[in-house]
Assembly symmetry: C2
Homo-oligomer: 239 residues x 2
């Protein structure tokens, strides 16, 4: 049987997903036969850091927030998963635990596979393994980039980069600028950039005075992206 909620007609749509790139319809159907569909309500956790890594997920609809915390309770926001993306890839390696927590930012629909099942599928369809490889390689580059930023840049630059990244990923054009289409608190931004919500607040206030952005609770509108680029690259004319 096909996974519930994935009528055959949607197969073409699924081919647009990176994980399934290069697979023919028959293979796709076989792979989907092994999938489960799971829905999560806004705010719900799909899994917690430390849980046994049972499943690999593909997000079909919604947004998922991946975070990692220290024993002392400090939290880092690693990324927002957008629809079409894979996460929880650790599951295919057997007997590991998730190194991150995953929380639904909105109501979400996911496809998921038991780790072992997916490992077998990848054995049968090398293309699938290569696709996962591809997304993992992208992740590595992205995190390395952030590590570099954390190690070499000032907080203000990191916040600017975080906003620019979100803009690229979830930006929605509205009149007067581009809206970050996510509930995004000062605390979230702090957790993305390794600082405190106080410092983020001060920075955003300053930018707002400069007319670069406009922000409310959990809502950020970028009026002048290029200004943020200037800050991120540290090309600012200090007056």
């Amino acid at each position: 049987m096909l996974a519930e909620g994935v009528p055959p007609g949607d197969l073409q749509i699924l081919q647009g997903i990176r994980l399934f790139h290069g697979l023919g319809l028959p293979e796709l159907e076989e792979i989907l036969r092994e999938a489960h569909t799971r829905r999560f309500a806004k705010g719900e956790f799909l899994f917690l850091q430390g849980d046994p890594a049972g499943s690999l997920y593909v997000l079909l609809r919604g947004r998922v927030k991946l975070t990692q915390s220290t024993p002392e309770g400090h939290e880092v926001l690693l990324r927002f998963v957008r629809d079409g993306e894979v996460f929880g890839g650790i599951a295919v390696l057997g007997d590991k635990t998730y190194p991150v927590s995953a929380q639904a930012v909105n109501d979400c629909i996911t496809l998921c596979w038991d780790g072992e099942t997916m490992a077998q599928l990848m054995g049968r369809h090398p293309c699938l393994a290569l696709n996962v490889l591809h997304s993992m390689a992208e992740r590595i580059q992205e995190i390395q980039e952030r590590l570099l930023e954390m190690a070499t840049e000032r907080v203000e630059q990191r916040v600017a980069r975080a906003l620019l990244r979100l803009l690229r990923q979830t930006g929605r054009k509205v009149e007067g600028g581009v809206l970050i289409d996510l509930p995004l608190s000062r605390q979230d931004l702090a957790a993305m950039t390794g600082t405190t919500l106080y410092t983020v607040s001060r920075i955003l206030t300053r930018w707002e005075h400069q007319g670069l952005i406009q922000s409310g609770r959990g809502r950020i509108l970028i009026r002048f992206p290029h200004g943020l680029v200037t800050i991120a690259e540290d090309l600012v004319q200090k007056t």
Copy 2:
């Protein structure tokens, strides 16, 4: 023909390498037929950040240092590759550039494959793809861990963790402690932890006074690893 420098008798040794785990001798031989052996002298760069990513490497002997730099010239030391490990995995994804530079710390021997060749091999031997997946997943976890540290810990803790990591990876027991078996300058440690060589120097001097370590130029001996753990976990009794 077999790659030069890899006589058939060494095949068993190669099976111990993570990349080849789970492969039978015949497959191994096929894979090695496509490999080249390359040697690099101490200090030589295997590739530079920004070079087209042509080859995937396995380090057979020696140590390789992976670094990444910003346009402004700040440098971060991502990791030391030990023998048996894979690097340059980006190559199999086609048409990318290396996001890091790789430099031989000692004289090195590597196996390497053209990226496209390796992609084909992985298509034929899913196990190979899974092995690469495995090592990439490990890398992701490791970098995420470091990102978490960078975001939440003080410099002293990060330096302690860096040393403990090196101790685990390259530690060599000698009388009086464990020696980090690598030429490791203050600058290197600074680039691993996102700080300056000045701060590293002060920290090491303090630890030396406390009897935790003993250090000279590019040489660090850890006398009392548990002391470093205490610092890394921030359980220090401030006197």
